[in-house]
């Protein structure tokens, strides 16, 4: 078998992997970034909404942004609307402020990595890992030509929700259905949508344990999707069934130009380092358990991973204890994720009646900040008894 040698090999060219690869290369490391798909960013497995905070990480070319929204509208089961808009929030940035073109966004991030000296290979799948005792020493890849052993001091596994590389390395990355959201989405056109707002629909009949969304994507077009808790999925009541019902009711006149299916880990953070390996992004379960958003967390963690790996090279120590610095620096992120996980457990148990009551309690509220945390805070203030256990999470 062909053998090659890099300092670092990154598995998966999503936002987490490309960011990690770029940062490691900027620190002078020899980095290989592999992507199993033929084309980076394809197939899309995402609703494409992201906070405008994305610009703290990268300055985006125009073509990566499909739509810019000024706010969000959250609908309770009876249609009561809670509006979070930049107008009412004194110029603060919306949680879903941009709807991205992930196909282009992911390619752009990979290009930045390539420009920093990263070698990128597509249609290249990691099929197993190389180990020396307990330590990960690289991966075996398969591409159109043949299999190759890629030796590396550190493997950064940004291989998405399946998180197979981590599992091969002995990290427990399996997820129980209660900690997974399964999603179906149509890219629709010919529909009446307000381009300024991303919309969220809650309710046990609409999306049990999740929500339905309408993220505007250009004129009279939108990503329309539903995510449900996997443990509540069964024959005849799958994510696609809920999406079809939602679309029939909301956009009967629409045309479907694309279908997207995805799975979002909502377990909260897991152990993400072992000897010679770091997990990043969905693979490390770094998605926000309440909103399902994962892009920015993956980029933040990717950056940290790149930096920690560079420092590990200075120490020439790639053991778990050396790489644990990654978890140390992800601590703030992980604490936020854990809080959101607990919030999710509570929120997903609300009946439709309770959701309606909560939405009505927010009538006339002007939000100072446009994010889920602020929304929860306000809800707690107005519903202290119903949300007593939630209040402990957001003192």
């Amino acid at each position: 078998m062909r053998e090659e040698r890099y300092d670092v090999v990154v598995v998966g060219a999503g936002p987490g992997g490309s960011t990690a690869a770029k940062v490691a290369a900027e620190h002078g490391l020899d980095v290989l970034l592999i992507e199993k798909n033929q084309e980076i960013g394809v197939p899309v497995r995402c609703a494409e909404g992201v906070s405008k905070r994305v610009e703290n990480f990268v300055s985006l070319p125009k073509e990566c942004i499909a739509t810019e929204a000024a706010g969000a509208r959250i609908f309770s089961p009876d249609g009561t609307c809670v509006e979070l808009s930049e107008k009412t929030a004194r110029g603060k940035l919306a949680e879903v402020g941009y709807v991205l073109e992930r196909k282009l966004f992911d390619k752009y991030l990979a290009r930045l990595a390539a420009d920093s000296g990263v070698e990128v290979r597509v249609k290249t799948q990691a099929i197993s890992i190389l180990k020396d005792g307990s330590s990960v020493k690289g991966i075996v890849v398969r591409d159109v030509s043949d299999d190759a052993k890629i030796f590396a001091d550190v493997v950064i596994a940004a291989d998405g929700v399946e998180s197979k590389i981590g599992r091969m390395a002995g990290l427990e990355t399996r997820i129980k259905p209660a900690d997974l959201e399964v999603c179906a989405q149509f890219y629709m056109t010919g529909i009446d949508v307000e381009e300024d707002f991303s919309e969220f629909y809650l309710g046990n009949k609409i999306a049990p344990g999740g929500y339905a969304w309408v993220f505007p994507k250009g004129e009279r077009s939108a990503n329309v999707g539903v995510g449900i808790e996997a443990s509540r999925s069964r024959d005849g009541a799958r994510a696609l069934d809920y999406l079809k019902a939602f679309v029939r009711r909301k956009f009967p006149e629409g045309r479907v130009l694309g279908q997207v299916y995805g799975a979002v880990p909502v377990s909260g953070p897991i152990k993400s380092v072992a000897d010679g390996i770091i997990l990043v992004g969905d693979a490390a379960r770094q998605t926000d358990p309440l909103t399902g958003g994962g892009i920015l967390n993956a980029m933040e963690a990717g950056k940290i991973a790149g930096e920690v790996v560079a420092e590990a090279f200075e120490r020439k120590d790639f053991s778990e204890s050396s790489l644990r610095e990654y978890e140390e620096r992800c601590k703030e992120l992980n604490e936020k994720l854990t809080r959101m996980y607990r919030a999710r457990l509570l929120v997903s148990k609300f009946s439709d009646k309770e959701l309606n009551r909560l939405a009505r309690s927010l009538e006339g509220v002007r939000f100072e900040e446009l994010n889920a945390r602020e929304l929860l805070r306000e809800l707690i203030k107005r519903n202290p008894r119903l949300l007593m256990s939630l209040a402990k999470l957001f003192p």
Binding site: N37, V161, R174, V182, A184, R234, R238, L240, Y261, A263
Partner: protein
């Protein structure tokens, strides 16, 4: 093979790979492959967003 994938239905989301307790499912590119160590627990069949997985009737 105990679980069958309908390739016409599969949307290659990876949900089944993620929940499989036996680690018997692989997403190769856009194709789901199920290995022999599948223990027929049926978790993947229930959670699939489109219903592309089926427990094979061994009759």
């Amino acid at each position: 093979m105990a679980v069958r994938v309908d390739r016409y239905k599969c949307g290659y989301c990876g949900a089944c790979v993620t929940v499989c307790p036996a680690d018997a499912i692989e997403l190769v590119g856009v194709c789901i492959e199920i290995r022999e160590n599948c223990n027929e627990c049926g978790v993947c069949v229930n959670i699939c967003p489109v219903g592309a997985l089926e427990l094979e009737n061994k009759g």
